[in-house]
């Protein structure tokens, strides 16, 4: 996976320009990362409304802490960790009792605040798949599956972003694949009767 880009310019280059104090560059960087950060926050928290709030917080923190990015890791990795930290803080702020799904998803109530958005998705199959994704997979499996199979990062890159070993990331990935693919195949009409 190469570093995501906004238009033709890699985020690293944008970040480097923003680090020089170029406010326009920062605004471009903030705009460029927003959708990605929002996606990560959604997968991590399991709640679209929380994800939007987390994404806004990350933009603020990005402005405040960009100078701390020293280029030792890829910008994407650094940004992911910033997002994870913001998501954790956000959920803690909402109270453990109400938001206990961050560390281990699996409860149907994960969707309570997000249901209206899910119901508006394109088709019923998609709705069922997304519900399953959030309700049946633990947060860590969701994150690894999303990063590797849907967004194109390698398991090693996902491990670095999540601060876990690559082999652990692969174990999460295989479990997530199995769960999601079984669900997909089960939804296929006459998928197993033909053989």
């Amino acid at each position: 996976m190469t570093t995501p880009t906004a238009g033709a310019e890699p985020m690293e280059a944008m970040a480097a320009r923003a680090l020089t104090g170029d406010e326009r560059a920062f605004a471009e960087l903030a705009t460029a990362v927003r959708a990605q950060v929002h996606r990560w926050a959604l997968v991590r928290t399991g709640d679209a409304d929380d994800a939007e709030d987390v994404a806004q917080t990350v933009v603020i923190r990005l402005h405040r802490h960009l100078h701390a990015f020293e280029g030792r890791s890829r910008f994407t990795t650094w940004l992911y960790r910033l997002t994870a930290s913001a998501a954790l803080d956000w959920v803690k702020g909402r109270g453990r009792r109400e938001r206990a799904h961050l560390a281990s998803a699996g409860a149907g109530e994960v969707f309570a605040a997000t249901e209206h958005r899910i119901a508006a998705l394109e088709n019923e199959r998609m709705v069922a798949l997304v519900r399953s994704f959030f309700a049946e997979l633990p947060a860590r499996q969701r994150e690894v599956f999303d990063l590797v199979d849907l967004q194109g990062f390698t398991p090693a890159e996902a491990g670095e972003m999540l601060e876990i070993e690559g082999v652990t990331a692969r174990a999460h990935l295989f479990r997530a694949r199995r769960a999601i693919r079984e669900r997909i195949l089960a939804a296929q009409p006459n998928a197993r009767e033909d053989r």
Binding site: G21, E23, F26, A27, A30, T31, R34, A35, H38, R39, A41, L42, V43, A48, A51, E52, A55, Q56, V59, I60, H63, R64, T114, R117, I118, L121, E122, R125, M126, V127, L129, V130, F133, D146, D149, L150, F174, R177, R178, I180, R181, E182, R183, I184, L185, A187, Q188, A191, D194, R195
Partner: protein, 151 residues
């Protein structure tokens, strides 16, 4: 075809996407290139995962693209009254400045909050932070709500 369908099905559940597409150099990929039944399952998995990706993208679409306008800290005129008071004062001043700048834009009687907000904020307000602090102006999907964050 050296792999039977039962073995292929077991492998399908954990296979790499390239294998599912039949592109890899592996027994499973070879089986998928030759077996229409298993090929159909592989295609279903790929399509389902693409749908999941599209759904997550849709769910993660911000309700509005905020315009973040971080401004350089300026020399403080409020240094003596402390950071917290400075934040409040700066925000109040920014709002007041916008209101004062549009003396003729009085809302009609019975105007809704949204109408009033549109009169007050036809464009994002420009805010300046006190010394050592920053400010961000965030537009939201609600035209009546603009967030001014002094930190």
């Amino acid at each position: 075809m050296t792999m039977d369908c039962a073995a292929a099905r077991a492998l399908l559940l954990e296979a790499e996407p390239a294998e599912l597409r039949g592109e890899a150099d592996s027994p499973l990929a070879a089986h998928l290139r030759a077996c229409a039944f298993c090929r159909r399952d592989a295609d279903a998995i790929l399509a389902g995962e693409a749908e999941l990706d599209a759904a997550l993208r849709a769910l993660a679409t911000p309700s509005a693209d905020p315009k973040v306008i971080p401004l350089r800290p300026r020399r403080a005129w409020t240094r003596r009254i402390g950071p917290a008071a400075a934040s409040v004062a700066a925000l109040a001043a920014a709002v007041a400045a916008v209101m004062l700048a549009r003396p003729g834009a009085a809302p009609p009687p019975g105007a809704t909050a949204e109408q009033i907000a549109r009169l007050m904020f036809p464009a994002p307000p420009v805010a300046r932070a006190a010394d050592g602090r920053s400010v961000a102006v965030l537009e939201t999907s609600d035209p009546g709500v603009t967030v001014v964050w002094v930190y």
